[in-house]
Amino acid sequence: MIIRKSGWLVFIVFFAALLALVYLLAGPAIRIGMVYSLEKAVGSEVNINKVGLELAPLALRINQLQITDAANPTHNSISFGHARASLELWPALLGYYVIDELTVDGLQYGAKRNEPGKVYRQPGTDGEKVDLAQLLQVDLPDADTLIARANLQTPAKAEALKQLAQDEQQQLQNLKSQLPSKDSLAQYQQQIKALTDSKITNAADLAAKAEQLQQLKDALNAEKAKVEQIKQQLSQSKTALQQAVNELKAASKADYANVQQLANLTEGGLAGISQILLGDLWAERISQLQSLYLLAKPYLPEQLPQASSSAAPEPVLPNRILPLPSQPYPDFWVKTARVNWLIGGGEATIALKDITAQHQLINSATRFTLDVKQLPQLAAFNLSGDFAILEQMVTNLNWQLEGLNLQPLSLGQGDTALDLAAGLLSSSGKLNLTNNQISQSANLVLNAANFNSSGNKYLQQLAGLLNQQQQIPLNISASGLISAPEVSIRSSLDKLLGDALLGEAKQKVAAYQSQLQAKLDSQLQTGLAGQQDWAAMLSQQDGEVADVSASIENMLNAKLADVKDQAKDKLKDKLLNKLGDG
């Protein structure tokens, strides 16, 4: 092999052709790549008007990007007019994407499309965006639902007591058949009388009668033992029934407390009406923030604790950068970004600094602020926060919203519909997300609310009460795992609203309590009162048997003494006769 003389020339031509090709085709190629990957990710039509590459300084420009909302194809989920990212050359040659400045103009959520976009995949329930109207759209629980939610224990315990009483009664019935009847006792007495009334002729006769009497005595003792056994059984049965009754009483008490708690009957309100109405819903909405965590997860350092060992394969970047001990730049780093957001009939600017997933390399957190004032539908909105992945992934968010003009909306449906004709919403709060643990607190105040309802009288009453309020405050806090947060919603109006809304529930609870008491009484009557009769009867029988036994004993002893006297007299007569003859 030798050196090719024209080699340099060939290489220069190749290189120049390559550069020309990149310059001409990079834009369309990136456009096709972006459309393909975005459509794959969102499952609906994505349009990009043009992608251009600028060489000096190196920058990428995207014109008119529209992502169709899969749930509503006539509208976009996100769209923007222009975006420009200027890339630093040297880091780019080393394989790091350091974007000096990113600008996005005309960002819009939910803008109407010129023509409906195609939908390739129907959206699932996960990951839908937080919608205030939907957030408040709940069906108010009725009394039966509340009672069902209370998970009452009493009916089960009452049923158990009934069953136990039946079983015990059956057992006692069986034992009753084993008791000595009055006839058999009379027979015993007759036999004894016959024995004692008969004359004793000699010693052998005496022995035979004593033997017969002893047999009768043994038989009577056996009957007595049976009575004892039944008495014992009865006592056990009494204890078991008493225990079941106690359990029933305890369950009834616990149920009552539970229902009271749900219906907010107790003073101070263990759980507010707002918790019952909005608690589960808020938890569900908060857990949607998990998509943020999942989005950042592939970029988290390996040593960070992972949220869960899900079966889904982890996404892997096609050509990862190795974890170098001193990396000169983060894998990607947007130094400054400015997003011009069209919102509520006006414009807002979001400023972001240091967007990256490797904050330890730049020794700074990602910061963002959003400041909006005097929009047609909103007096002021301020959002600020930071995000950093260091030892843990930490996100902090603070917001202050004032005078958001609520559009007329309808809460609930049909009989439980409550319409909000007008209202001004203000809110302030903060949120901290550390890995997958959330801690959030927020104040919401609804001013000058105008509700009306054509639903049932309770809702009309509720609407009236709400309209009388100058402010409707709500305190919302959430903590715990982001996928299943524990949410607490409190309002100073809880007691008032609870009384109004749950009046029906309270009546039902009271009715249920009295019904329960009546049932309980009848259970006790059939279970215990019947037993008392049994006890009296058994005591009587026991007494009778004991009496018979005692009289037998007496009769037996008396007869034996009598027999001895007769024997003595006979011996005396014989001796006197012999002495007389002598």
Partner: protein, 163 residues
């Protein structure tokens, strides 16, 4: 496909030296498994400067790029697993030239090592196979219809002329 086969046969039957073909195959394989970057340009420069058979190089490059659609992912994972060596990472972090060549990227590093490892054996093996082909099979291949057609074509005449 037929053109591709004809191209290969044409090169094998040409006057190009077995080493030129061997190196073209080895370098084509090397550039094919590498993700496109500065290293690829360096290989192109080497190929341009040395009298490596260009058409063989381009054909093998194209074929290997196709194969890498299948093998890039496992190679990337394998490199990530075995590259967690403190000394290697330190070296990559301290040498900017290596970063300029993108050797701190998993797939690039893995492909570079694999390509460098295969370069000499593949070149030698290809040379041996070309020699074997020419001494044993070439005469019968020359009689194939496809070869006759090829030789009659204008393109072949042009190729002969250029060589």
């Amino acid at each position: 496909m037929l053109t591709l086969l004809a191209k290969i046969l044409k090169v094998l039957n040409s006057e190009a030296s077995p080493w030129q073909i061997g190196w073209a195959i080895a370098l084509g394989l090397f550039i094919g498994i590498l993700p496109f970057g500065l290293l690829s340009l360096l290989i192109v420069l080497i190929v341009c400067l040395l009298t490596v058979n260009l058409s063989t190089f381009i054909v093998v490059w194209g074929l290997t790029e196709g194969l890498m659609l299948l093998f890039a992912d496992p190679l990337e994972r394998l490199t990530w697993q075995y590259a967690q060596n403190e000394q290697l990472l330190q070296l990559l972090a301290n040498t900017e030239t290596l970063q300029l060549l993108h050797l701190h990227h998993t797939l690039t590093l893995g492909a570079f090592l694999l390509g460098a490892l295969l370069l000499l054996p593949v070149a030698w093996l290809a040379k041996v196979l070309v020699l074997q082909y020419r001494s044993r099979i070439m005469t019968s291949v020359q009689k194939w219809k496809i070869m006759q057609m090829l030789k009659a074509s204008k393109l072949y005449a042009l190729y002969e002329k250029m060589n």
